[in-house]
Symmetry: none
Subunit: 126 residues, 2 copies
DNA sequence: CACATTGTATGAAACTCTTCATACAATGAA
DNA sequence: TTCATTGTATGAAGAGTTTCATACAATGTG
């Protein structure tokens, strides 16, 4: 997994690049729920960046429920939480849809293309 | 064209978001070679950001040969236009799809529902 | 219990980004 | 020639990012 991480001089903050790469690897199934991630020190050394910068990326993913960390033990991909009740689910879905559309547009990408790409990725598992 | 520009709170510097959006609009043919871009002041007002921030985005595209600017006259898409890279676009859409799927699952939401909610939100504009 | 491993935290320094206010310079129309 | 329009520039202030050095705290193995 370490070899999949890299830092590019794109002007995008390093901790954001890292966060996005980890999220992408998880979404692509490269890291399954329960899988252990490289330690923060390993990533810092491999990418030649500061430990705190790596911690920053991991911390945000932990805050968002993507990762679970235990000091002395390591960082793991979180198991998906139990599905929300339908009413709450629909509300959260709608809010996340708005955010995701905004994020796609901010990246200059067509949100409709993004939605179709998501469905394409998910189809094989249906 | 102004309505196609957005700034999202993604942590990515504003001038980079703007630069990417303009680059893709040109790549998608929304802005043809020779077409005039919104003035830097118009963009600053529309997005409620500082003139210098817009200037920063335009300056980088000019440095890269994508735009041509003339003070007192305006900013135009360079002729010939920059090369289009559809493969890169598809890769970025796919990367964003994987990330969005992971983020949705971590939040306890069904990514397929999210994609459909996005398409529902976007339909009225078709 | 000791220790290696892994995560967490602090303050400071330097750099980057954005905003602000302001003003100058080139273009082209009238 | 004048003037409106558009781009270019400056310094400062505040917030954000990254690095550095260092050290503490929880975990689990032996």
């Amino acid at each position: 997994m370490l070899d999949r991480l890299h830092v590019a001089d794109t002007g995008i903050p390093i901790y954001i690049q890292l966060r996005e790469q980890l999220l992408r690897a998880i979404g692509a199934g490269v890291l399954a729920p329960g899988a252990q991630l490289p330690t923060m020190r390993q990533v810092a050394v491999a990418l030649k960046i500061d430990l705190n910068t790596v911690q920053r990326a991991y911390a945000e993913l932990e805050r968002d429920g993507v990762l679970v960390t235990t000091r002395g033990r390591g960082t793991f991909v979180a198991n998906p939480p139990p599905p929300l009740d339908p009413v709450r689910h629909d509300l959260e879905i709608d809010a996340l849809a708005a955010k995701t559309i905004a994020a796609a547009r901010a990246a200059g990408l067509d949100p409709a293309d993004l939605a179709r790409a998501m469905l394409t990725r998910l189809e094989p598992s249906i």
